[in-house]
Amino acid sequence: MTTTTFEVEAKSGLWRKIVSALPYVALSISIIPILVGYYWVIIATFSYRTEGLFPVDANGNIGGFTLQNWQFLLDPQIWRVTLNSFLIAIGMVIGVGFLSTLTGYALSRMNFRGRKGFLGLTLVLHAFRPELLLIAIFQVLLFIAGIPLLGKVFGFNTVGGVALVMVALELPLGIWLMKGFFDNLSWDMERAALIDGASRFRVWWEIILPQVKPGLAALAIFNFIAGWNAYLIPFTFTIGAKVSNLSVYLNQFSGDTSPTGWNQVAAVGLFQLLPILIFFIFTQETLLSIYGGGAKGGT
C-alpha cells in the first residue's frame, strides 16, 4: 500500500468528494506565491514591461513581446561572472566530493587513533552554523593573501579563495553523507581485495568509488546548486567585478535598475535559474532525498 487515503464515511457522494478535494485546494493555494514569482520572471524576461501580472508594450497595452532583454548576453562582463559562478560550483563539486569521499571512507572503514574524536567533531560541526565565522575567516583570507603565489589563487578577493572557504564550510555535511553511504556498502569485495594485497588507496579508488556513484552524484548536485547560488560568501570576500559571481552581479544590477527596467533583471535572473531548473526537472527524486535527508536547515 503506497498511499494513506483517509476514506471518509460520508453521507453523500458529493460531500465525500468535497472533503477529499480539500487538501488539494489548500495545497494549491499555498503554492500560489511560488508559482507567481516564477511566472513573473518568465513573462518579464520576454516582454517590454510588466504591470502586475501582465506583460505590456510601450503604450501600456497587453503584449509587448521582445527579446531585447537578452542583450546582456553581449556584455563580456556577464560571461566573466558566469564563469566565476561556474568555477565556484565546480570547485565545490570536486573539492567537497573528493575530500569527503576520502574522509568518509577512512571514518567508515579504518580503525585509528583519533577516529571517534574526529567523527564526533564532524557531527558537532554539521549542526554548527558557520555564518558568523565569516568575520574571522576574512582575517584568515587576508593572511593567505600575504603568501606569495598561493595568495594570488586562494587569498582574499580571489575566486579560488571563495571556493576554498565554501568547500571547507560544506565539508562536515559531505563527510556525514558519504560516511553514511560507505556504512551501507558490503565489506566482502573490499576485504577480498585487501587480502589479495591491494593498497588501501587502490581499494578506495577501484572498488569503493564505483559503488557509491549514486551517492556521489547526489552530493555533486547539491554542491553544484550551493556553489552556483552562492551569494553571501562571494559578496563578503570579493571586491569589484573581476572576481564577483552571478549572484553578486545580479544583486548589484537590480539595485541599480529602476522598477520599469526590471525586465532585464528578470532576464539575468532566468539566465542564472536555468541550470537550477534543469536539475529540478531531471533529478527530482534525488533533490528531495538530499534536502530531506542530509542537508542542513537552511534559513
Binding site: 494513506t4 487538501p23 507567481v36 513573473w40 520572471v41 572503514r109 580503525n111 544583486n251
Partner: protein
C-alpha cells in the same frame, strides 16, 4: 635499540639549532635597532623582526608590527618544549614528528604572509619592501624544522609498525583536517581574540589594542540593543511557529494524505524556493510588493477594490521578512515530517478508522505522538538555523526600512564587522556580537548531539583486521 633512538632524536639535532637560528636571524636586527637608534634609519622599508620600518611622509621613522611576525617565537618555543618532553620520555612518539612538521610549515607560511602583508601596506605608503637576510634565514630554518619533523615521523614509523596504520588513515584525513583547522578552529579563536580588541578599518595599519571586555560592555549598553534583541526573538519565533514547523507540519500532513504522485508534486514545488538562487528569489518578492502599476499584490488588491496600495516592504516589513524566510524554511521540516509520517505503520490508521475515529482525532492521537522526535528535532535545529542566518534579510531589507526596523542579531554582527558601517569596519566590535552567537551555536550543537543520540551513529568501523 639505541641506534633507533638516535635516529629519532636526530630530528631534534636538526630542529634545535634551526630554531635558534630562526629566532636569532629574525630578532637580531631588531635588537641592534634598539641599541642603536641610527641603525634604524638604514633599515627603512625593511621587513625585520616583529614588523616593518617605515618612514612617514613627515620624515618620522616608525615601526609597524603585526602579531603574526612573532609566530617564529612560538615555533622555536614549541620545538624546544617537544625536545625536552621527548628527552624525558626516552623515546619518540608520533606527535614528536607531526608537531614539528606542522609547526615548521606554519612558521614558513606565517613569515611569508607577514612579509606579503607588510609589502602591501608599505606599497600603499609608497615604500619598496625588501626581504632581509634575517628573514630569508628564518624561512630556511622553518623548512629545516619541517624536515626534522618528517624525519622524526619516519623514525617512529620504523620503530612501531602499528603507527603506520594510523598514519595511513590520517593520510586520508589530512586535507580535511587541515581545512577544518583553518576554516573552523582558527577563525573561532580569531573571533574570540578580535572581540577583545579595538581593531577596525580606521586603525587597521595603526597599532590596535586589547581593550578587554569593552566591546561587550558597549554592545549591552547600545541604545538599539533591546530593539535588536526583540527583533531577533520575533524573527526566530514567528518564522518557526508559522513556517519552519507550523506550515511544514501542515504540508507534510496534507501531502502524505493525498495521492502519492500529487503529494510528491506539491513537495517539489515547495522545495523550489530553497534551490532558487537567493538573489533571484528576492527579486521575485520585490516585484510582488512594488507600488502600482508594477506590484503584483497591489494589482490583485486593485481587482478587489482596495484603495490602499503602498510599497508593501515599507508598509509591512516584518510580514515580508517572515514570508520570504518562511517559504524557504518550510521545506526542511516538510520533508522530515513527511518521511516520518510515511514510516508509521498503516495498520494503526486502519484500526483507528474502523473504531470510528475522525481525521482530526487520528492526527492528534496517532500521527502527532508518533512524530514527536522529528518535531523536536526540526524545532531545535531550525531555531539555531534561524538565529544565525541573515542572508535573506540582508538582501530584502538590509535591516531597514529606517533604523534597525528588521535588523536581527546576526545581521548586526555581520554589518558592524564587514560593512563600511558608519564609515568604518569595526571588526572588534562586530566580533563581540558574533561570538555570542557562535558560543550559543557550539553549545546547541553539542546538546543536539546528546539529545538526538547522534553518538549512536558513531558505530564501530568495519575493522582493518583481516
Amino acid at each position: 635499540m639505541s641506534s633507533k633512538r638516535f635516529r629519532g632524536l636526530a630530528g631534534y639535532v636538526l630542529a634545535a639549532p634551526a630554531a635558534v637560528l630562526a629566532v636569532a636571524a629574525f630578532y637580531l636586527p631588531w635588537v641592534s635597532f634598539i641599541v642603536n637608534d641610527k641603525l634604524f634609519s638604514t633599515l627603512t622599508g625593511r621587513h625585520i623582526a616583529a614588523g616593518t620600518v617605515i618612514q612617514k611622509g613627515s620624515g618620522e621613522i616608525v615601526f609597524r608590527g603585526s602579531v603574526m611576525n612573532h609566530f617564529i617565537l612560538v615555533v622555536a618555543a614549541v620545538t624546544f618544549l617537544s625536545l625536552i618532553v621527548a628527552w624525558q620520555r626516552r623515546r619518540l612518539v608520533l606527535w614528536d614528528g607531526l608537531a614539528l612538521a606542522i609547526l615548521g610549515a606554519m612558521g614558513f607560511f606565517g613569515i611569508l604572509s607577514g612579509f606579503g602583508v607588510a609589502s602591501r601596506k608599505a606599497g600603499i605608503a609608497g615604500v619598496d619592501m625588501e626581504m632581509t637576510y634575517g628573514m630569508a634565514l628564518a624561512l630556511l630554518a622553518s623548512l629545516l624544522i619541517f624536515v626534522a619533523g618528517v624525519w622524526n615521523t619516519v623514525a617512529v614509523t620504523r620503530e612501531d609498525p602499528s603507527v603506520k596504520g594510523t598514519l595511513g588513515a590520517w593520510g586520508f584525513m589530512a586535507p580535511t583536517a587541515f581545512l577544518v583547522m583553518v576554516f573552523f578552529f582558527i577563525p573561532a579563536f580569531i573571533l574570540f581574540i578580535l572581540s577583545l580588541t579595538d581593531l577596525s578599518s580606521s586603525n587597521f595599519s595603526e597599532p590596535w589594542h586589547f581593550i578587554g571586555l569593552e566591546n561587550y560592555r558597549r554592545m549591552f549598553s547600545d541604545r538599539f540593543f533591546p530593539k535588536i534583541l526583540g527583533n531577533t526573538i520575533r524573527y526566530v519565533s514567528l518564522t518557526l511557529i508559522f513556517f519552519n514547523v507550523g506550515m511544514a507540519l501542515v504540508l507534510a500532513l496534507l501531502t502524505s494524505h493525498i495521492r502519492r504522485r500529487a503529494g510528491f508534486f506539491f513537495r517539489m514545488i515547495w522545495l523550489l524556493p530553497r534551490i532558487t538562487p537567493s538573489v533571484v528569489y528576492i527579486v521575485m518578492w520585490r516585484r510582488m510588493v512594488q507600488q502600482p502599476p508594477y506590484g503584483i499584490i497591489n494589482q490583485v488588491l486593485g481587482w478587489l477594490g482596495v484603495e490602499h496600495q503602498p510599497y508593501w516592504l515599507n508598509e509591512q516589513p516584518w510580514l515580508f521578512v517572515i514570508l520570504v524566510n518562511g517559504f524557504v524554511g518550510a521545506s526542511f521540516g516538510m520533508l522530515i515530517f513527511s518521511s516520518a509520517i510515511e514510516s508509521i505503520p498503516k495498520d494503526l490508521f486502519v484500526a483507528a478508522r474502523v473504531d470510528g475515529a475522525s481525521t482530526w482525532q487520528i492526527v492528534r492521537d496517532i500521527t502527532l505522538p508518533l512524530i514527536k522526535w522529528p518535531l523536536l528535532f526540526v524545532t531545535s535545529y531550525q531555531t539555531l538555523s534561524l538565529l544565525v542566518s541573515f542572508e535573506y534579510i540582508l538582501l530584502l531589507t538590509n535591516g531597514g526600512p529606517g533604523l534597525f526596523t528588521t535588523e536581527v542579531w546576526a545581521l548586526t554582527s555581520y554589518k558592524r564587522a564587514l560593512f563600511t558601517y558608519f564609515g568604518t569596519n569595526q571588526w572588534g566590535y562586530g566580533a563581540a556580537w558574533g561570538l555570542v552567537l557562535v558560543v550559543i551555536a557550539i553549545v546547541a550543537s553539542v546538546v543536539y548531539l546528546r539529545v538526538f543520540r547522534f553518538d549512536e551513529l558513531v558505530q564501530e568501523p568495519k575493522i582493518d583486521v583481516l
